[in-house]
Amino acid sequence: MAVEPRRRPESARGANKARSPWREQAESYLTHHRKVAEDSARRLWHTPVASLMTWTVMGVALALPVALLLLLTSLQGVSAGWESSARVTAYIDMDVPLEQARALRDEVSGDGRVAGVELVDRDQALAEFRASSGLEDALDYLGENPLPHTLLVTPEEGARSAEGVEGLVRFIEGMEGIERVQVDLGWLQRLNAMTDLLARAVWALAILLAAAVVLVIGNTVRLSIESRRDEILVAKLVGGTDSFVRRPFLYTGAWFGLGGGIVALILLQLSLWWLSGPIERLAGLYRSEFSLDGLHIDGALALIIAAMLLGWLGAWVAVKRHLDDMEPGDITGS
């Protein structure tokens, strides 16, 4: 029987509630969520071309800033590597004997900003040069060793900033018997400045593209809201809460995000594979350790979660704009 004799409907409902404890309520709530999630996914699956296009748009929009961020991280890795190996080379006057050079070494190494000093005496330097330059015969023509004693100074961790190194350079330059101090940090500073600029540009681009993703998903979800108008009106009519009505669309947004994230990962992996050969060659030419790292598993996961959140956010925008003011008032006619 659909309708049982019922003197007091309120108490009948109460009894019903008592029969289904909160555990059953929670269970049916979860069941409902799963059902809605599955249903939303199935709807996307049923229009594969349209869904794939949305996924691709989203994938491209996500892959671009992520690729630039990866490049940036790799560049920063390069400059960080150089910074840690930043060394100050001090050339000692030609007429300074080895003992005095040793004294200079001890003096420099006594400074707080210095992690270590290596003295390369002129004979050793000549031997190294001979071995590495291939100019053995030419050197033989020179009557005497043209190379001075050299101090290779490694700055302390804390003194590796541009200013710290500069101070150290001034200190060594001021010492007796030092002819010239060389430190090649200029290009490193320029690289740093460039990566800083690039980082800002990439973040600005990422924000713009994220906004684009939200709008694209918002528009797609708006269309899906329009096409399910009847269903929404009936659901509201029979007492569906706003969150009940929103739920399928929010799941739709999240699924769009998932697909977009996966497409972005595939695009990243493809372009990485496409670029890895040339990059290796280029880095080899510069004797650099530079390598373009792909996303690790946690990065990939973060990308997919971020994509799903963006999709969800886009759906939320659409739902807020178009769903909440949909009222079944016009359903009844006049």
Binding site: V3, R6, E24, V234, L237, T241, G329, T332, G333
Partner: protein
């Protein structure tokens, strides 16, 4: 169960849909709502459904004054009101069963409970054998009965019907009215908006008549309990 106290609904300055309407319906009462087109029948039903808010006066359903109901609470009121439409408002992308199950779904009923109650409702309207069909495969009268099953599946204390027999032949109309009569016998308050004078006369029930937004007949008697005026 339903009470209108001096209810006025004004859409804009020159269009007043309802003027100072007063009436009350008891639990288990079945009444007709009639009047010419544009007399305010739909507006009256919409006020009960909280699709519209009154400009003045109070609408009380189940002891709750709807005027001051916050927006968030509206869905919970609607769960206590079943509605049947002339064009039934069925969804053609799902089965008869799923259509009838919607009010239970929005309440978060368990699947077991849903199955039991949907089949009970379909049994009541005589369509149990068609639960797996698409509403498109059904005749007009059957579709209307699916709409009724959906309206009563969660056993609401109030049942509203807007021209429920508009497209049906007299025999089917009588069937449907019979169903409404049965619901009222088990304690459901039923209010049926209709043009069908013949049907109203046949049923011999209380009739609320609207004329240009005024309640001109059937409204006076029941205020705060007592007998129903027929």
């Amino acid at each position: 169960m339903i009470e209108f106290r001096q209810v006025t609904k004004r859409y804009d300055s020159d269009h007043t849909a309802l003027r100072q309407v007063n009436f009350g319906l008891e639990r288990g009462e079945l009444a007709f709502l009639t009047g010419h087109s544009g007399a305010g029948k739909s507006t009256l039903l919409k006020l009960i459904m909280v699709m519209e808010r009154p400009s003045a006066g109070e609408v009380v359903v189940g002891g709750q004054v709807l005027n001051r109901l916050p927006r968030r609470q509206i869905p919970y009121i609607r769960r206590h009101i079943g509605v049947v439409f002339q064009n039934h408002q069925l969804l053609f992308d799902r089965t008869v069963f799923d259509n009838v199950a919607m009010p239970l779904e929005v309440m978060g009923a368990s699947p077991r409970d849903t199955g039991r109650r949907v089949r009970a409702a379909l049994d009541k309207v005589g369509l149990l054998s068609k639960e797996k069909m698409n509403p498109l495969q059904l005749s007009g009268g059957e579709q209307q009965r699916v709409g009724i099953a959906r309206a009563v599946v969660n056993k609401p204390p109030v049942l509203l019907a807007d021209e429920p027999t508009g497209n049906l032949d007299p025999a089917l109309s009588a069937d449907i009215m019979n169903l409404f009569g049965q619901f009222s016998q088990v304690g459901v308050t039923v209010l049926i908006a209709t043009h069908d004078i013949a049907l109203i006369n046949e049923m011999n029930r209380r009739t609320l008549t609207l004329d240009h937004g005024r309640l001109v007949a059937g409204g006076a008697s029941v205020m705060g309990g007592g007998a129903s005026g027929r």
